[in-house]
Subunit: 266 residues, 2 copies
């Protein structure tokens, strides 16, 4: 398991009314997992200052190292992420000169004037650092608070992904020791999940720190079960060997109980 | 806006490591919205008693009428939803006779014996009511706590959807006045979101309770913008007329500012 606690707060009413899949959170989770950081909570809230602020306060109470927010940075009246974080942290907003420069030069290059809605996007928290939005207009924001670094990214997926890869990931890598995540999937047939359950419990003491989760696909009594074996660590060779050992020993349990291995890594 | 506060707690590590889109929460949200109930928070946590319990306690502190959990009801060691809710509410678990009957008859029909893992699925909170799982083996659970009804549904989408439609929705409809949700989408071109922002603010006092949200698609300076106008209420004719009036007046603002209407409901 990772020692870093990281959380995502996804902001946007479209995520709460069944319109939009939260692909941003899934993408960020998989990016962080590739360096051994496992997200421990994803919270989705709408476009209200109180809801955003409350989600941030609740998250801070869980003492994460990293909070990543997505959405709510744009120019409209319901883009309220900076406002919500300001209210949570009790830090005033201020016109950020670097952010203002970014926004101004974006609109200048389009031949458009600055307006209050455009100035709004450069209003960040005092002490915050803007993140450059190379694909869009609203800057992101990074702020340290207690032991937590809060990264606020846009909700438009392309802008979010670019900003995450070029600016968030490098900062996280500076802060935390790089770990890796390894996983193997075994597909099992001929044994119901409820029969597998006691085998898993018998097997667990010999897991060597490998995490096992079964995912049913199809119905009892003869479902297909996907069993995911995974490990997070910093020594790649050791992780591979622990995973192989766990896989072999688990497969022995399954065969003994009459299950069939339909697919295994090797 | 709906007067009912409803939340979803999605349980399962696969939702936190970038493997699985949370399609269950999106589906439930859209089902509830069709009767005028808007989800105000979705929380995703992993398969740990402490995390589940904490999410439930935090949700209860927001005083929702309804909490729907998905996942973690199966037979394996990491199916811990009932345990997590028991820990949050400080209510002991007990073998539920109705749930036991369901589980037993399922396995009997498959010609399988009862085992501790199978008995586990019938262990519910004292005072809880089981929900029948017609497509799978793990019963769901309904429990009243203070002013909140907690529904716990399986994570397998087909089982969850069937249980929600046949047993959860009817119970929610008994409890809350039926409302409706209406929405129209206008697609606008030729006006950047940051130019639309002040128009929206000018227009808002005349919105008649219609909620407006703009979704950028494409990049400034000439993006396509989707504007969603929506209303929740109980008088269908009045809602339609408010929506039409809001739509007309908003389109006037857009045209006056040089925007083009690419698509509108009529």
């Amino acid at each position: 398991m990772s020692t870093i606690i990281a959380e995502i707060i996804s902001i946007g009413r479209e995520l709460l009314i069944g319109r939009t899949q939260n692909t941003n959170a899934v993408w960020i989770s998989s990016q962080l997992l590739s360096v051994g950081i496992e997200i421990s909570r994803i919270s989705i809230v709408g476009d209200k200052v109180y809801d955003i602020s409350r989600a941030v306060l609740e998250s801070l109470a869980r003492r994460p190292s990293i909070i990543i927010t997505t959405g709510g940075l744009g120019p409209t009246y319901d883009d309220l992420t900076v406002e919500g974080i300001a209210s949570a942290l009790k830090i005033p907003k201020t016109m950020n000169p670097k952010a203002l420069e970014q926004v101004k030069s974006k609109y200048q290059s389009m031949g458009l004037e600055m307006t209050p809605s455009r100035y709004k996007m450069a209003m960040l928290l005092e002490g915050a650092e803007p993140l450059m939005n190379t694909l869009g207009t609203a800057p992101g924001m990074m702020i340290e608070y207690g032991g937590t670094t809060i990264f606020s990214l846009p909700g438009v997926p392309s802008e979010m992904m670019e900003m995450f890869s070029s600016q968030v990931m490098p900062r996280i890598m500076e802060k935390v020791p790089r770990k890796r995540f390894l996983e193997r999937v075994i597909v099992i047939e001929g044994i119901p999940e409820s029969s597998l359950a006691p085998l898993i419990e018998e097997w667990m003491p010999s897991s060597g720190g490998v995490y096992l989760k079964s995912h049913p696909a199809g119905k009892e009594p003869s479902p297909t079960l996907e069993v995911h074996l995974s490990i997070i660590g910093d020594n790649f060779e050791e992780m591979k060997s622990l995973l192989s050992r766990a896989e072999e020993s688990f497969i022995r349990y399954v065969l003994k109980a009459g299950g069939k291995i339909k697919e295994a890594p090797r």
